[in-house]
């Protein structure tokens, strides 16, 4: 009998994760049909799709640090699907804004994108996501070679733009967007090579140890 390693479970887990990623959309559709999205359903859809785009983006960014943390490669095998779902929810978020919120009023939309910084950065994040989604197939990956990785490093900028988009739209209470900012910061810092991080850590520990000695 074969041993069930996590790697062997990936083909089973993938369809499950796929279905799980569709749950937020399912809830929105059910809520819309049942007229159960609250007093301002357009706002509810805008917020839900935006938050899920950001959450899935952070999950995508978590796969590499997770791989290093557990020393197994399987998280990488979910990365593309999670990234594409982040793009999917970002596209729904943008569509909600263009259609349900603005009614495809071109002039108002252009004005928003140009004049309102939080919309400018949100729009930029989406524009940057498009080439990543288009080059996500294995064939494209092979064709682009090293340039694929360079291109896909744009995800870090997209993460930062996405969090800024949220931070800048909030009126006064920054707590929720700051949680996203904190998670993003941890995920980006975790990408620093561990060796260097270790050296920095030891140096920091050394600095902190000084007052300890002085105290004696």
């Amino acid at each position: 009998m074969m041993r069930m390693t996590p790697e062997r479970l990936v083909p089973i887990a993938k369809p499950l994760v796929f279905l799980l990623c569709l749950v937020p959309l399912g809830l929105l559709v059910a809520g819309a049909v049942a007229d159960d999205l609250g007093a301002n359903p357009v706002e509810a859809i805008t917020h839900a799709t935006g938050e899920w785009a950001l959450r899935l983006l952070l999950l995508t960014l978590a796969m590499t640090p997770l791989k290093r943390l557990i020393g197994r490669p399987w998280p990488i095998r979910f990365r593309r699907m999670l990234g594409l779902f982040a793009f999917f929810y970002a596209a729904l978020h943008l569509l909600t804004y263009l259609w349900l919120d603005q009614g495809f009023d071109g002039q108002a939309i252009i004005e928003d994108v140009v004049k309102r910084p939080y919309i400018t950065v949100g729009f930029a994040a989406f524009v940057l996501l498009v080439p990543l989604a288009l080059t996500s197939t294995r064939a494209r990956m092979r064709r682009l070679g090293r340039r694929w990785q360079t291109l896909h490093r744009a995800i870090y900028a997209i993460g930062i733009l996405g969090v800024l988009h949220y931070l800048w739209l909030v009126k006064a209470d920054l707590r929720e967007p700051l949680i996203y900012a904190l998670v993003l910061a941890v995920l980006l810092l975790a990408r620093l090579p561990f060796g260097r991080l270790g050296t920095a850590g030891r140096r920091l520990a050394g600095l902190l140890a000084v007052p300890e000695r002085d105290r004696g």
């Binding site: 609250g38 359903p41 706002e43 919120d101 004049k115 009126k171 209470d173």
Partner: protein, 329 residues
């Protein structure tokens, strides 16, 4: 209860000069409005046998307010659903999400409730909420409400002109502004435990704005006492200004010689002005104010064009004659 003699104040003292000068305008507006209300009454006679003269049917969720008078200032637009008005709104004292007020405002104790009125006036004092309810003729005022965040509602308030109350405390000639304060009680208003806003919430009006007949203190909604999440037991309603001016759960009113500091303006002076008049030509830095979304209109409803002074320009534009409304936004 310290308010004794409300009767012998000459009209010239109550009515600010500007309004008095334009009294014919108000009479005209009132006359045309009465016609509309009368017509509305004929078209929509809900159960008159209960003796509550509201054009909307009380939902039976609060204490009915008896003896309501209809008002010529009411709009004939269809009111937003009670459920929407009471489940969606900003009341940061209870949290930052729109559903938080309905979720947490139950902790607010609205009885007993005392309003302190002081500052530049001859007869400073305090008045309890029961005396406010019985001492002023409560009217039904169906007003449009426009939030600075671009959503809008039509709300059947119950209330009375703020000017009627202010006059009792005899503001002096030095009183150029009126300042308002919300209750500060983090035990009941859990959102006040965090310094999201420099508590207590503060708002202010120029004296002529405060005395304007459209400006009311609201005590009820849909013919009944105000639900806590809507600012019980006493809140300001200034229908031609963005919603954040209409301060909730008021405990103090102060007459002032100087423009008082106001909560959102203190936090973001480039985004929220002292005047905050609804104005489709002056954008908020983060969103256009040209259009508004009617709450309850449905997912596929288009936004409506926002009107100058929220559609109350005929009544209030004169207050701002000669002012640069881009500068004094």
């Amino acid at each position: 209860m310290l308010i004794k003699r409300p009767s012998d104040i000459p009209a010239s003292e109550i009515t600010p000069h500007g309004v008095w000068l334009r009294r014919r305008e108000f009479i005209r507006a009132a006359a045309s409005g009465v016609g509309l209300v009368a017509a509305g009454g004929l078209l929509l006679p809900w159960d008159q046998t209960q003796g509550v003269e509201t054009t909307v049917k009380p939902p039976g969720r609060g204490q009915p307010i008896p003896g309501l008078k209809p008002s010529a200032f009411s709009t004939d637009e269809a009111p937003t659903d009670y459920a929407d008005i009471t489940s969606y709104g900003n009341f940061t004292e209870f949290g930052s999400n729109k559903g938080d007020p309905a979720r947490y405002a139950g902790a607010l104790e609205t009885r007993p409730w005392t309003l302190v009125v002081d500052g530049e006036c001859e007869a400073p004092g305090r008045i309890g909420i029961e005396d406010i309810l019985s001492g002023f003729t409560q009217e039904e005022r169906i007003y449009r409400l426009r939030c600075v965040e671009t959503w809008a509602m039509v709300i059947p308030w119950v209330g009375f002109p703020l000017g009627d109350l202010l006059a009792r405390f005899k503001p002096t000639a030095k009183a150029k502004y009126v300042a308002f304060e919300t209750l500060f009680n983090p035990k009941q208003m859990h959102g006040q435990k965090r310094q999201v806003i420099d508590w207590p919430y503060r708002e202010g009006l120029r004296m002529d704005e405060a005395m304007h007949p459209l400006t009311i203190l609201a005590t009820g909604l849909y013919g009944e006492t105000l639900p806590n999440q809507n600012g019980a037991p006493l809140r300001l309603v200034v229908p031609w200004k963005y919603g954040f001016k209409s301060i909730k759960s008021i405990v103090r009113i102060r007459f002032s010689a100087k423009e008082p500091p106001t909560a959102w303006n203190m936090l973001q002076p480039d985004e929220y002005g002292f005047y905050a008049n609804v104005n489709p030509q002056v954008d908020h830095p983060r969103w256009s104010q040209r259009r508004e979304r009617m709450v309850g209109a449905g997912i596929f409803a288009r936004k409506k064009e926002t009107k100058m002074f929220n559609g109350y320009a005929d009544q209030v534009a004169g207050l701002y004659a000669g002012m640069d409304l881009k500068r004094f936004f």
